[in-house]
């Protein structure tokens, strides 16, 4: 049979031996196919269908599976020692490959094996994965195994990634938010092969992903339902799983990793490190925003500012009589700092994007609060978490590195490409939202530019709040004239500066000087004046006009701690419901087991 193959933009006619596509021949004893499987040297997706031929991807899959059959032991199990050989057999040059790199869970053994393949056999891969977290994730670009990258978040590899892009080792596709990249898995970035991670598998390939399910369902579904191949590394192979998170017929190979997969305890904040200034900002946020709007459904960004808010609910929040009125429903990772609020009866429900090390037993014992399976353990799912955070919340609140005079904010610095993760999906007003809530309606009602945009039509607005110190570590200003993101974009050749939250989405800015209610402003000049009013002694703040600031305070567009009637002398650590990780363990009744690095006992 002749097929058209596109190589480097040119079309060739290539003959491929016909294969019976009706049988999925994974048998341990299956002989090596003659004709050395795919006669084509490029990924199957480059094959353009001839009319009437509709299962080329499937045939390509079958060929790859047949070639790998010799490596399979019982069921779908491949010995860890054969993993490199497996990867060399099932991946072809130019393939789109997903190496499961989540916010927390990492398919680290498979990633290492991918970095050990022969670059003369496997090269020019197009990596599509959400997080670039491990050294090996970038090593494959240095070795020429991979060439192009589409991703969301790079965290610890941010500086090396920036260098690789600059040196031309990485051809950058785009930097996405999680949900955006997941979306593209189902449109134009569908992985040909996915290397994923799970806690446990049985010999039929059923997977238990448990607490850290995270991205696995999305990756596996996108890959397998477009005739791709799925390999899972697991911590152990068992006869019976606690529950099935991924059905076995969506998984092609299972490798028992020689070591447990790496999980980063990303959301543990030690209360001992919360500063008095953070307590002040938290008090302001609770009184000036949560209470003012009656915020019940919320996502907290990662950081010490939001940890302070969580730890003030049972103390300051209680004192203001807010229990049951705010913070009842969360889209949130299992933050240990939320334990005191949960234990004090503040919280009705928490849906998690991922898990958190040490919170397993606590979550298991609070099934009314968390989403747990029939087996009693948490199942996270980042795609659903992002969806919930985007559409079903009334507020996002979090910190950032830099905010400019227009309210645009970014965590980018000159030499690091750290990407976005999920924050922009939380920190944005979902245009498709149609259901109303009091908080959403009030914020929309106050929107100073609404009349110019939608006339007299009522519409709500999500609150998007940034907590910012006027000066950060090493006296770096938190509010700047121009974001470093501009310089980064220029240096790395990005099409636009990486902005975490755009100014038109930002409704409130909280600094230790006060709260700017930006959405209440009538135009961009007024917004800038409100930002200047709370920017303290930064260059932006020094441009504030005293009489304008007074006017903004009178009109309630800016409110200082004094305007909010907050006694700043009380803003210190003694307000916190827990002041150490040990206190959190006590609050949990011994159900929270923090990782050793957080234990000072």
């Amino acid at each position: 049979m002749d097929y058209q193959v596109i190589l480097n933009g040119e079309t060739y006619n290539v003959a491929i031996e016909e294969i019976d596509a009706h049988e999925e021949p994974i048998k341990a004893a299956a002989p090596m196919p003659q004709a050395t499987a795919p006669a084509i040297g490029r990924s199957a997706e480059h094959i353009r269908q001839k009319p009437g031929k509709w299962n080329i991807l499937h045939q390509d899959r079958v060929q790859r599976m047949q070639a790998a059959a010799r490596l399979v032991q019982a069921g779908k199990i491949v010995d860890a020692d054969n993993t490199v050989a497996l990867i060399e057999t099932i991946i072809k040059p130019g393939d789109k490959v997903n190496v499961e790199g989540n916010n927390q869970k990492q398919a680290d053994f498979l990633s290492e094996c991918l970095s050990l393949v022969d670059p003369s056999k496997i090269h020019d891969l197009h990596i599509v994965q959400s997080s670039i977290a491990l050294k090996e994730h970038l090593d494959i670009f240095e070795k020429g195994i991979a060439k192009k990258l589409d991703f969301s978040f790079s965290g610890p590899q941010a500086d090396r990634l920036a260098r690789f892009i600059h040196e031309g080792k990485v051809e950058l596709g785009s930097i996405h938010t999680y949900m955006e990249l997941f979306g593209r898995y189902f449109i134009d970035l569908t992985p040909r092969v996915a290397l994923v991670a799970a806690y446990q598998a049985d010999k039929n390939g059923n997977l238990y992903t448990g607490f850290n399910t995270e991205d696995t369902p999305v990756i596996v579904e996108a890959t397998r339902f477009k005739q791709g191949i799925v390999v899972a590394q697991v911590n152990e192979i068992v006869d019976e799983l606690p529950r099935v998170d991924i059905p076995g017929d969506w998984v092609d190979f299972v490798v028992q990793s020689p070591r447990l997969f790496y999980v980063e305890p990303l959301f543990t904040r030690d209360p001992a490190l919360i500063s008095d200034a953070q307590v002040l900002r938290a008090m302001m946020a609770i009184k000036g925003i949560y209470a003012e709007y009656g915020i019940q459904r919320v996502n907290h960004g990662i950081g010490f500012d939001t940890a302070a808010i969580e730890l003030l609910l049972p103390t300051y929040g209680e004192e203001l009589g807010l229990k049951g009125k705010i913070c009842t429903h969360f889209a949130l990772n299992p933050h240990p700092t939320l334990i005191p609020a949960i234990e004090s009866g503040w919280v009705s429900s928490i849906h998690c994007f991922g898990g958190e090390l040490g919170m397993e037993e606590y979550i298991q014992n609070r099934p009314d609060i968390f989403f747990t399976g029939p087996d009693g353990t948490l199942r996270s799912n980042r795609a659903y978490g992002q969806m919930a955070g985007h559409y079903a919340l009334d507020m996002f609140i979090g910190g950032t590195l830099q905010i400019d005079r227009f309210g645009n904010s970014s965590t980018a610095t000159m030499d690091r490409i750290s990407g976005f993760g999920g924050a922009p999906n939380m920190g944005t007003d979902a245009g498709g939202r149609r259901h109303a809530s009091n908080a959403w309606l009030k914020c929309g009602d106050e929107y100073g530019m609404k009349a110019q945009l939608t006339g007299d039509m009522p519409r709500g607005k999500k609150l998007v709040v940034q907590l910012q110190e006027t000066f950060r570590e090493k006296m770096a200003p938190g509010i700047v004239d121009r974001l470093d993101a501009w310089d980064l974009a220029k240096k790395a050749g990005l099409p636009l500066p990486p902005v975490m939250i755009y100014g038109d989405d930002l409704t409130h800015l909280v600094t230790e000087e006060g709260i700017a209610y930006l959405h209440r402003c009538a135009d961009i000049e007024e917004r800038t004046a409100a930002i200047q009013a709370v920017a303290g002694y930064t260059d932006v703040g020094l441009e504030a006009n005293e009489s304008k600031t007074r006017e903004l305070r009178q009109r309630g567009l800016v409110r200082t701690p004094e305007d909010l009637k907050i006694d700043t002398s009380r803003a210190n650590r003694s307000m916190l419901a827990a002041r150490s990780v040990r206190d959190l363990v006590r609050w949990s009744g011994g159900l929270y087991h923090p990782p050793a690095r957080f234990k000072n006992w």
Partner: protein, 321 residues
């Protein structure tokens, strides 16, 4: 400064050096000597382009507990990790000398009950040891303090209080253990070489400095109590430390001096026997040592609350009582 009553109930671990100094003695009695208004600052740091502190990182002064004059030395970890430099060291030795002179005066005036009227020194450690920017002067300060501690013997009780963030490391680990009594909280740490330095020199396999639980098992208050380097383990409040000091000051000197870890041939021999034990036992973790001293469930010790620990933990038997 918080009100004194509030200081008493606040965390010793989180308190500043000045808060500790004020809270440890009776309300309103602390007089700072060589305080920030005197601008006693390091001459070396500006040469290196480093910031100075007007108290050079140590609060010194005198107050009262009951009728007893109590001299206070309180190190501030927020300034260069509480490291000891020339000026701070001189302020500290001056406190020792003042206490000794006052003792001699009182002993002359009240020869019968000098021991219950004599001044005491409480030393609240929060330090990584020598300040490397001025290491020679810092080392000299260590040596002077060791000598002065010996001069104080039989005259001025010297009490170490350890429960602050930085802990008590480097040469100051030696100094703290040479005093008459060591009082710690669970959060206090004593050691010689700090965790990061051990890892840097000997590798992560020998000591993983990111494993805070390991650090506390090796240097923390509970371990030091089981090993009898620390005589009293108290709650993490300034008031709990203060109460322990009050109790100690009411003891006759003869009883107080029994808490010493060094200072006699017998005590030195006892310390050496511990070195020999380590060679035999080859412990992989502190839990091995705790088990050796008769603790059935050594893994459970870190999670015990103070009260349970004091009730249940088996301590090393002291040869010299």
């Amino acid at each position: 400064m918080k009100a004194w009553e509030e200081l008493i109930s606040s965390s010793f671990y989180e308190a500043t050096a000045r808060q500790r100094a004020h809270g440890l003695v009776d309300a309103g009695t602390f007089n700072e000597l060589g305080g920030p208004n005197k601008r006693l600052k390091s001459p070396h740091l500006p040469e290196l382009g480093e910031a100075v502190s007007f108290d050079d990182g140590v609060v010194t002064g005198v107050g009262r507990i009951g009728a007893r004059p109590v001299f206070v030395i309180s190190q501030e970890g927020r300034f260069i990790g509480g490291a000891v430099g020339e000026v701070g060291g001189a302020k500290t030795t001056a406190i020792f000398q003042m206490a000794l002179r006052l003792h001699d005066k009182i002993a002359k005036k009240y020869p019968e009950d000098a021991s219950l009227r004599a001044p005491a020194i409480i030393y609240s450690f929060e330090t990584g040891g020598v300040r490397l920017h001025e290491a020679n002067a810092g080392l000299l300060a260590h040596a002077e303090q060791m000598e002065l501690i010996q001069e104080c013997r039989g005259k001025v009780p010297v009490i170490s209080l350890i429960g602050s963030k930085v802990g008590c490391f480097g040469g100051m680990g030696f100094v703290s253990i040479s005093t008459d009594v060591v009082v710690m909280s669970e959060l206090g740490r004593i050691g010689l070489t700090g965790p990061e330095v051990i890892e840097q020199e000997m590798g992560k396999k020998e000591f993983d400095s990111s494993d805070r639980a390991l650090i506390y098992r090796t240097t923390g208050g509970k371990h030091k109590t089981i090993m009898r380097d620390c005589s009293f383990l108290v709650d993490d409040t300034i008031g709990a430390f203060r109460d322990q000091v009050k109790t100690l000051l009411n003891m006759p000197y003869e009883q107080l001096k029994k808490y010493r870890s060094i200072g006699s041939l017998k005590l030195v021999q006892e310390q050496l026997s511990l070195v020999a034990l380590a060679a035999v036992l080859q412990p992989k973790d502190s839990t091995d040592v705790w088990a050796h001293f008769g603790n059935d469930n050594p893994e459970g010790i870190p999670d015990m609350e103070l009260e349970e620990f004091c009730r249940k933990a088996k301590l090393r038997h002291r040869e010299v009582e």
